[in-house]
């Protein structure tokens, strides 16, 4: 089985890092995975995205037209990628910065205040980890435990100090939808 993800947001929101952590979590789980960034004349404040394909068998193609899951952290990314979600797929949005709209009827919508979660933890930079937590709570392919291991793998050396805060953000994101019910 193959599952595709697109992660997107502002430059500076830690999108590529979140994608790298997600891809590492899949690798550590023993799955086959490919991470591919948009690259171009990007700038701070512009949009940035990466695509991740995870599969039990060999990952062949990347750079796909459509995706099973889109994780979007800002409005521009929602507007762009809501059209790239496969019918039956899911768009997971940061409701702090994305208006709750449902322009298509054939996909699922998840809204969670990712930036707000991060701000409440005292650091807006961990919104990306909160976002991964939300994603893990709605997507069975993504494992919260392996996301934590992925973070440790990616953030080596001194950055390890950031682990507790990021795990908190991951947990808060993971639990937010259940709390809202």
């Amino acid at each position: 089985m193959e599952t595709n993800f697109i992660l997107a947001g502002f430059g500076g929101q830690g999108i590529l890092l979140a994608g790298t952590i997600l891809a590492n979590s899949f690798m550590l789980e023993g799955k086959n995975v490919t991470w591919y960034p948009c690259y171009g004349a990007e700038m701070r404040g512009g949009t940035v995205n990466c695509e991740i394909v995870v599969s039990d068998s060999e990952v062949s193609s990347v750079h796909k037209q459509d995706t099973d899951y889109a994780l979007v952290l800002n409005q521009q990314s929602f507007d762009k990628f809501v059209h790239r979600v496969k019918p039956g797929g899911t768009i997971v949005s940061n409701s702090t910065l994305v208006a709750e709209a449902r322009p298509r009827t054939d996909i699922k919508y998840v809204f969670a205040p990712m930036t707000q979660i991060a701000n409440e933890l005292g650091n807006s930079k961990v919104a990306n980890m909160a976002a991964l937590g939300v994603l893990a709570s709605v997507c069975s392919v993504v494992s919260k435990e392996y996301l934590a291991k992925g973070f440790e793998k990616v953030m080596s050396g001194k950055k390890k100090e950031l682990l507790p805060l990021n795990i908190k953000a991951l947990e808060s994101g993971y639990n937010i939808l259940a709390q809202a019910k």
Binding site: W35, Y36, Y39, S60, V62, K64, K153
Partner: protein
């Protein structure tokens, strides 16, 4: 970075850079250009730590000529660049081929012609395989299709360059350079090559040597070119490599090089599910090209469909290889978004109706 068997999630560009270090690359000379700048960035940090050489050259022409100079002393050296800047290096490649110098050049292809843009493409097949330099010469060209192969073929590039005293191009593309996949560095599997019979190491205690390509003696120059081509016949005999998937019962063989191989493999599975007997063929060495194997498959009546991100550059080599014994079709887009599995499947079905002898071009 590691050189053991731990799996790491790594970008193709970084994988090439670390593999070059593991392969014993003593000197790196380069000039930044997207989509391969990470190679130089990585080596600018790592090479000085190891006491090895890193120079950000003033131009690509300077960089490749620095490599020519370095490798003439018997050390392993490399430059990396992308399409339009590799174009600038063609003169030096012709010299290096004639001088029989083990230059290693990595080309992470982007869109052309001219300035083009930074998105990936496969438009430098001709530039690499047939060369843009003057005179008759041949380059060994290796085309990786995964990040793991970026590592494996970088090891091989350094080995083949010294073993045959011939320039080697590792032909990757922006997709491979930028994407991350799990990969293992392992150990460089190739032995040291003895360069003591020719390397310019100072003539203390021995006859002096010279390496040059000037050929004012006509008879000698004729013989020199023949010798270069005889050497390449040996390379073709011993080093031609390719990969095949499910070609045994295939009626149609999808053929691609580099990272496009990934999509033809996926397309093959979809076609098989539809009851179409498809297989895959992929040259790993683009030069020497696996003409012989393609002819064998063609002789068994298998038709070919070449899928590539250019205007049909490898297509011509496949067409030449089949010697008219089967049909060869083409599916292509010149640059940009990689041909998707769906596009390939759709085009193959169209080509079947035309008995394969046609081309389907996407925009």
């Amino acid at each position: 970075m590691t050189d053991n068997n731990e799996k790491v999630l790594i970008k193709g560009n970084y994988a090439i850079a670390q593999a070059a270090i593991n392969a014993g690359c003593q000197c790196y000379f380069g000039y930044p250009i997207t989509p391969q700048t990470e190679i130089g960035e990585y080596l600018s940090a790592e090479m000085p730590k190891l006491g090895r050489g890193y120079v950000c050259a003033e131009s690509e022409i300077a960089a490749i000529n620095m490599v020519v100079g370095a490798v003439s002393t018997g050390v392993r050296a490399m430059t990396t660049s992308s399409s339009l800047a590799v174009a600038l290096m063609q003169e030096a490649l012709s010299y290096a081929a004639s001088d029989e110098l083990p230059v290693v050049l990595v080309n992470v292809m982007r869109a052309g012609p001219g300035l083009g843009y930074i998105y990936p493409a496969q438009g430098d097949y001709n530039q690499s395989v047939y060369g843009g330099g003057n005179g008759d010469y041949k380059i060994i060209v290796l085309a990786p299709s995964t990040v793991q192969e970026c590592i494996d073929l970088t090891y091989r590039a350094f080995y083949l360059a010294q073993k045959y005293r011939n320039p080697v191009i590792l032909l990757a593309d922006g997709l491979l350079g930028q994407m991350m996949e799990p990969a293992c560095f392992g150990e460089n599997p190739y032995p040291e090559v003895d360069v003591s019979s020719w390397a310019l190491t100072g003539a203390k205690g021995r006859e002096s040597r010279a390496i040059y390509s000037l050929g004012p003696n006509e008879k000698k120059q004729i013989q020199h070119v023949y010798n270069l081509f005889k050497k390449f016949e040996v390379i073709a005999e011993k080093e031609t490599t390719y990969e095949e998937f499910q070609t045994e019962d295939a009626e149609i063989v999808l053929t691609a090089f580099g990272s496009m191989t990934r999509n033809i493999k996926a397309a093959m599975k979809v076609l098989r599910d539809k009851g179409i007997k498809a297989g895959c063929f992929r040259p790993i060495t683009l030069s020497p090209f696996p003409h012989k194997r393609i002819l064998e498959l063609a002789t068994e009546g298998k038709n070919f469909v070449v899928v590539e991100m250019n205007m049909g550059q490898m297509y011509k080599d496949v067409k030449y290889s089949v010697e008219g014994r089967s049909e060869v079709g083409l599916i292509n887009r010149p640059v940009g978004e990689w041909l998707s599995v769906e596009e390939i499947v759709e085009a193959v079905e169209k080509l079947m109706e035309k008995n394969y002898a046609a081309s389907i071009q996407y925009s």
